[in-house]
């Protein structure tokens, strides 16, 4: 259960090798979280994430085969996970890829792959999760969106639009879950220095997985609907969204 101070006892991560999700888990385990289930594509990165969760002190760490793009099996994977482990307090949707816009822009198929991995797949999985949370009468769904979805930018509109779709979907799902005991929290980080952005020049207000995790844990405690990391981006993007298009178009890559 989630206690009065917002501390969950069990967490499921969809996209289990995500660095941000790992940082969140590392902050949750020392408080009350005893069970960590990491769902992702089998591989060394997922195992490393599992080892890290065990290293910070989780009693039960399990990995589950999950591919965000393999939509056909989402319901089955989610249902089996809930059947096997019982109640899950917190579900973090962290699956996603950045893609390479310069290539993808001219390769419709790989662009579609980005959209599937970042939006269609996670969205379908969230519906399966939402059904289970409704049934268990409580639970928090934490969705890793991005400020890139606030307004699609010339230089990364494929990634940006996928996050934009995911973000809108999560907002609607949150309203749909209202009154069920379950709820959705949307996380909109800025540029996160890490594996996904390796070799890129950090954008202004760049942040780290740990800082995002801090914002997420605080958001869970205060039952927030949307959190930005760093928080100042909420105001930065309020302005950005209203910049004239001629200016926005010139935003650097």
């Amino acid at each position: 259960m989630i206690d009065a101070i917002g501390r969950p006892q069990s967490v499921l991560v969809l996209g289990g090798s995500s660095e941000i999700a790992q940082a969140i888990v590392a902050k949750l385990v020392p408080t009350r979280c005893r069970t960590v289930i990491l769902a992702g594509r089998d591989g060394p990165k997922l195992l490393a994430a599992a080892e890290q969760a065990a290293a910070v002190g989780a009693d039960t760490v399990e990995t589950v085969e999950f591919d965000a793009a393999d939509i056909e099996h989402h319901r089955q994977v989610i249902d089996r996970t809930f059947d096997q482990f019982g109640d899950i307090d917190l579900v973090i949707v962290a699956a996603g890829v950045l893609g390479d816009q310069s290539v993808d822009e001219h390769d419709p198929e790989s662009a579609a792959d980005v959209l599937t991995t970042n939006f269609t797949g996670p969205a379908a999985a969230m519906l399966a999760v939402a059904d289970r949370l409704r049934r268990q009468g409580y639970g928090r769904l934490v969705v890793l969106s991005s400020v890139a979805g606030e307004r699609a930018r010339k230089a990364n509109f494929i990634y940006g639009s996928s996050k934009s779709g995911l973000d809108a979907f999560a907002q609607g799902l949150g309203d749909s879950l209202h009154g069920s005991g379950a709820s959705v929290m949307i996380v909109r980080p800025g540029f996160v220095v890490g594996r996904m952005t390796e070799g890129m020049d950090p954008a202004p207000f760049a942040t780290t997985p740990e800082a995002v995790a801090d914002a997420v844990v605080k958001g869970i405690e205060s039952n927030a609907a949307v959190v930005y990391a760093p928080p100042v981006l909420r105001w930065v993007f309020t302005v950005m969204k209203h910049l004239p298009r001629v200016v926005w178009r010139k935003m650097p890559g």
Binding site: M1, R7, A50, D59, E65, I71, H74, Q84, G179, E221
Partner: protein, 531 residues
């Protein structure tokens, strides 16, 4: 197929308004509906998520919630079944409130044996939490005055007395509803001549002063409690207002009451004001609470003897303010109440010091002494000091602070009160309640399949889990040596039941009654695209 009573899905919280979960609420307008709801829960209704009873929802935390399962609202069972005015024995429905009991029986010369700081609790809830009052040092907890009750369990309905099945009776006392649903009870009331008390009030300059006064003087009073100002520091740490008294006889009262016996016995509770909306969290902050505490301390007489106070003002001052829990704002609040032995007064001091240090505003801090406990294995009261603090949720260090206080209380041999709890850890609980295993054995006897479930029970691992068929959380998970790092699993290839301990002897429900999976195979048309 068992067509149980239809519930409707409703979001529930405790009095602290934290951690809401939704459940099917069944309004038990008759005991038949309790039986039917129980039968339905036993047969795996409500997704196999079990059942718990709820009264007036005054537990601060998650005791009367059951996420995704059934919650039986017992407040409908509020009848008076039998009255013996000669001996003060009354048999009432478990959903009757202590307020109703006082309204009906104080004018007849009988008062409830134990009352907490609010009248808005049901008899069933009073038994389930084995509540205490300002007279615990003299009269013990509520269940010491219960002579019999009817308990609906998953394995049948039983008529319980302390003699018929002492184990189950005392497991139900303070058992937080996890041994069954109490539908009626017989109480031994106490005789009173009037609805007034003669009260002595005095101020104490610091914690030593108030503890000293209580240790030396409490025995002379039936009721005793100290309000502590948790904001004054240094030499004045723990300055308090001590109020103690006993029921007034008619001849003790001032002439205007003495000449009008009806008025001297009248009990007409009023809600003076009501908090109409939920203000933003943070209204009760160090500044406002500090001002209140200063006012309260100064308005209390330095020393006053034998003043007549009406029961309502003496026992239940906050009942005059409707929905006062809203004052803590949307994030809600929690109450931290613990007890430590008489010789562990230093723990009380350290707790107050920590609060003062962090400037955590406690609007209400109440200190009192418990007398001997009753035989209930997880009944809260044990002899010693009990301190109760209301704390708003939202202070950044609240989680760590309370975990630290838990450790301090546990190492002093103390415990926290489950009716107030909303955050203790399962491992610490097991240190605080060494007889928990004994209680669980009795619980499992009447409910082997874990049908009686609540959010509190889930959080603390008190009932076996029928969904996963899983064991309770490792009793002392935090301390036990770590398990092997990871057990990679492929859920797709794995059967859901693979984790179950084979042939567990506790009579788990058969797999067929688990969460129905037929519905979930009707996959939504994720593939169809609307263009």
């Amino acid at each position: 197929m068992n067509a149980g009573p239809a519930g409707h899905r409703q979001l529930l919280t405790g009095w602290g308004r934290t951690a809401p979960t939704s459940a099917e609420v069944v309004h038990a307008v008759h005991t038949d509906l309790v039986d039917q709801a129980m039968a339905q829960a036993v047969s795996g209704g409500a997704g196999g998520r079990g059942l718990v009873a709820r009264g007036l929802g005054r537990s601060y935390g998650d005791a009367a919630q059951n996420a995704g399962g059934t919650v039986v609202d017992l407040t409908w069972l509020d009848a008076v079944h039998h009255v013996d005015l000669q001996h003060g024995l009354i048999t009432v429905g478990a959903g009757i409130s202590l307020e109703t009991l006082m309204e009906r029986f104080v004018p007849l010369g009988w008062f409830v044996p134990v009352t907490p700081g609010t009248r808005q609790v049901t008899v069933g809830g009073a038994i389930a939490a084995d509540i205490h009052g300002k007279n615990h040092h003299r009269d013990g907890a509520f269940c010491s005055h219960v002579t019999r009750m009817t308990l609906v369990t998953p394995t049948g309905t039983v008529e319980l007395t302390p003699a018929s099945d002492p184990e189950l009776f005392w497991a139900t006392a303070g058992g937080m509803g996890l041994t069954g649903v109490i539908t009626d009870a017989t109480l031994q009331m106490i005789p009173v001549e009037t609805s007034y008390l003669l009260v002595d009030t005095e101020r104490a300059e610091d914690l030593d002063d108030v503890m000293d006064k209580m240790l030396t003087g409490d025995d002379g009073y039936r009721y005793s409690v100290a309000w502590i100002d948790c904001q004054s520091r240094g030499r004045r740490l723990g300055r308090s207002v001590l109020t103690r008294g006993d029921h007034a006889r008619l001849e003790d009262l001032p002439t205007r009451l003495r000449s009008n016996p009806d008025k001297a016995r009248s009990f007409v509770p009023r809600t003076l004001v009501r908090v109409p909306v939920t203000p933003p969290s943070g209204l009760l902050n160090p500044l406002t609470v500090g001002a209140f505490n200063e006012f309260w301390f100064r308005k209390s007489p330095k020393h006053q003897v034998g003043k007549a106070h009406h029961m309502t003002g003496f026992f239940h001052p906050l009942d005059g303010v409707g929905s006062w829990n809203r004052l803590y704002g949307s994030r809600g609040f929690l109450q931290y109440q613990f007890v430590v032995a008489d010789d562990q007064g230093e723990t009380v001091r350290r707790v107050i010091e920590r609060l003062v240090e962090l400037r955590l505003a406690s609007f209400l801090a109440v200190l009192k002494r418990f007398g001997p406990g009753d035989p209930g294995p997880i009944s809260f009261p044990v002899p010693g000091w009990t301190l109760a603090l209301d704390l708003p949720v939202g202070h950044h260090h609240l989680d760590r602070l309370l975990d630290d206080l838990d450790a301090e209380v546990a190492s002093a041999g103390g415990r926290v009160y489950l009716a107030k709890d909303s955050r203790v850890s399962p491992s610490t609980l097991r240190v605080m309640y060494p007889r928990l295993g004994e209680w669980q054995a009795v619980r499992d006897r009447v409910d082997p399949a874990g049908v009686l479930r609540s959010d509190l029970g889930r959080r603390l691992g008190l009932s076996p889990d029928p969904v996963t068929g899983d064991e309770r959380p490792t009793p002392d998970a935090a301390r036990s040596p770590r398990r092997p790092a990871t057990r990679p699993t492929k859920a797709v290839a794995k059967k859901p039941s693979a984790q179950k301990p084979a042939g567990a002897p506790t009579g788990k429900r058969p797999a067929a009654t688990k969460v129905p999976t037929t519905k979930s195979t009707a996959t939504p048309s994720t593939k169809e695209r609307t263009t």
